[in-house]
Symmetry: D3
Subunit: 129 residues, 6 copies
C-alpha cells in the first residue's frame, strides 16, 4: 500500500488530517497517518484516542512519550522508535534522559525473564494493589 | 527451585541482601532476589545494575518505575507487574497516574502493530536522531 | 547463508520443491523454501504441515491466511507479512478486508495489554470452554 | 485494583456499560469493562473502537473473532484467550474450527521464526502489495 | 477443552501416543499431547517433527532442550518452562547449568533491547554469514 | 545517535573498550559497544555481566552462544542475530548445528503457542523442579 496524501484524501480523512495539523501545529501529518488513512474509521479512532490520552494529564506529556518509546523498543518497532524518540526530543528529552531510558528498558527486559525463569511467586506485600 | 532465605544464604549472597536492605530501608528482600540467589554472580550483577540505574538521575525515580511497569505489562510478566506497580505506588504514583499509564501502554501496543501492518516508511524528519 | 536453488539442491530437497510447485501451480518456490532447504528434514516437516493445514478444511483457506498475516504483524516478521499478505490477496482478500484485518490486529494488541495491566480475572461464564 | 460494578459507577461509565449491554444483548458487562472503568476516557475509546470494528464489515464477525483469538494466543494473554474463544463459540465457531485455528497459530509462530533465523529476503513478486 | 486420554482416543491418536510412549519409554504421554489430540493431524505433525529434530544430531539432545527452555522463558509459557526444564534435568542438566542458562536468557533479552534502542548498524564483519 | 569511537571516547569508556579488546583479542570493539558508550555506566554493567557469564562455566561457551542466537531469533533482533551467529561460528558452530538450532527455535515457538492455545495444565510430574 501507499501513503494517502491530503490531495487524494476523502473528506473524512481530510477532517482528521486537519485536526492533527491544528493540534500539533504542523504543516503536514507524518507517514503513520497517511497509511492509516486506508481505513478512515480506524484513523479517526486512533487519532481521537491518541489526542485525548497523550496530552498532559495525570502524567506529563514527556513521561508518556518516554513510555511509548520504551514499549516500541521492547516490541522492536522501527517506525515507532524513530517517531516517538523524535517526539520525546521535541518535548524536551535530553540525550542523557534517552540513554537512561534505554538502560531501564534493558534492565526491565532482563529482570522480566529472570522472574519468569525462576517462576518467582508474588510476595504477599505486593498483592494489595 | 525454592527461595533462598537469609539464614541459608552464602556469604556472597548475604552481602548483596544486606546492601539491598540498607539501600531500600527494608527488613527483608523480596522474592525476586531470594530466587536469583541461586546464581550469586548474576544476583550481584543484577542488583548492582538496578541500584545504579533505578535511582534518581537524568530521569526521576518514579518515571523509571512507570517505564518498568509499562514493559512488564507488554511482556505479560505477572511478578514484574505486581512488584513494580507496588514500587511505583511507594514512590508516589496515584491511581489516576497508573490508569493513564495503562492507557498509554494499550495505545502504544496498538499503534506499534498498525505501523508494522502498513510497513510505514520512516519520515525523513525522524532520521536526524 | 544463501538461497539453495533447484539446480544445486539435493534429491530430497528437489522432491519437496516439486511437490510445492505442483500443489501451488507455480514455476518456482519462493525464497522461504530455498533457505529452509539448508535443513532438508525441517523443510520436509514444515512443508508437510503447511500443505496439510493451510488448505480448505473446517476453516476456509482465506480465513487461515488472514490469521497468518495477523500473527506475522504481531510478531513483526517482515518476510512473513509480505508473503502472507500476498497470499491473502491471491486467495481473494480485498484491500478493504486487509485494512479491517489491520484494525483488528491493532485493537487486539491494545486490549491484550489492558487486560494484562488490570490483571482482569476470567469471568465465570468464560470458563466452560 | 477492583472491578467497578454498575452500582458504584459514574454517569459516564454507566453510559458506556448501558451501550455495551444494549449492543450485545447482555444483562451485565464482563470483567474487562469493569476494570477498564477505572479510566472512563479509555473505556469510552476502547468500546467505541471495538463496537465499530468488530461487527460485520468487509470481514464477517466470526473471522474477526478468530483473528482476535490468534493474537491473544501469540501474546499469551489468559483473559483474552478465554473471553475471545468464548465469543468465537458464541458466534458459531465449531470445535473443529478452533482446533484448526490453533494449528495455524502454531505454524505461523514457527515459520515466523524460521524466516527470521534465515533472514530470508523478500521475493520480488511479494513487493507489489 | 479437556485432555483426551488413551481410552477415549481414536485409532489415529492412539498410534501417535503409542509411538511417543515407545520412543520415550514412558507409561503415559504428558498433558501436552492429550490436548493436542483434539487435532489428530496436527498431533501427528508436531510429534513427527519433535521426534525427528529433538534427538541427538549435530547438536546433542541436552543442548537442544536448554534452547527450548530459553525460548519458553522468553515467551513466558508456563507449561513449556515446566515441561522442558523437567526434560533438561532428565537429560542431565545440573542446577548450576540451569542457573547459568537463566543468566544467559536475562542478558540476551537485555542486550536485544539495547541493540534495538540504539538501532545499532550491523558491523561489516558480521555480514559474511 | 552515532557510534562513539575510541578517539572520541571518555576515559571511563576507553577502559571498558580496552578490556573488551584484551579479553576478546580484537583490534577494535564492535558497534554494539560503541553505541552503548553513550551511557558509560550501563556500558560498564553490561560488559561486566557479559564477560562474567558468557565464558565457559557450567555450560560451555558455545552452548551459551547458541542460546543467545535462539533468543535473538525469537525476539527478531537483526543486530543480535548477526553478531551472535557470527560469534557462534567463531566458537566452532558448524552450518549443520546452526540449521538444527533454527529447527529447534521454530519448533519451540510452535509448541509454546499450542500449549497456550489449549491452556494445557502442568503435569504433576513436572512440578517437582
Amino acid at each position: 500500500m501507499k501513503a494517502i496524501g491530503y490531495e487524494e484524501a476523502s473528506e473524512a480523512v481530510r477532517a482528521v488530517f486537519d485536526d492533527i495539523k491544528a493540534t500539533r501545529k504542523l504543516d503536514d501529518v507524518n507517514n503513520f497517518w497517511k497509511y492509516l488513512a486506508h481505513d478512515p474509521r480506524m484513523l479517526a479512532h486512533v487519532w481521537s484516542s491518541v489526542k485525548d490520552i497523550m496530552g498532559a494529564g495525570s502524567l506529563d506529556a514527556l513521561t508518556k512519550e518516554l513510555i511509548y518509546v520504551a514499549i516500541s523498543i521492547t516490541n522492536n518497532c522501527d517506525y515507532c522508535m524513530a517517531s516517538h524518540s523524535f517526539a520525546a526530543r521535541a518535548k524536551g528529552a535530553s540525550e542523557a534522559q534517552l540513554n537512561e531510558l534505554y538502560a531501564v528498558v534493558g534492565l526491565a527486559n532482563m529482570t522480566n525473564r529472570l522472574a519468569n525463569a525462576y517462576r518467582v511467586p508474588v510476595d504477599e506485600a505486593f498483592k494489595t494493589g
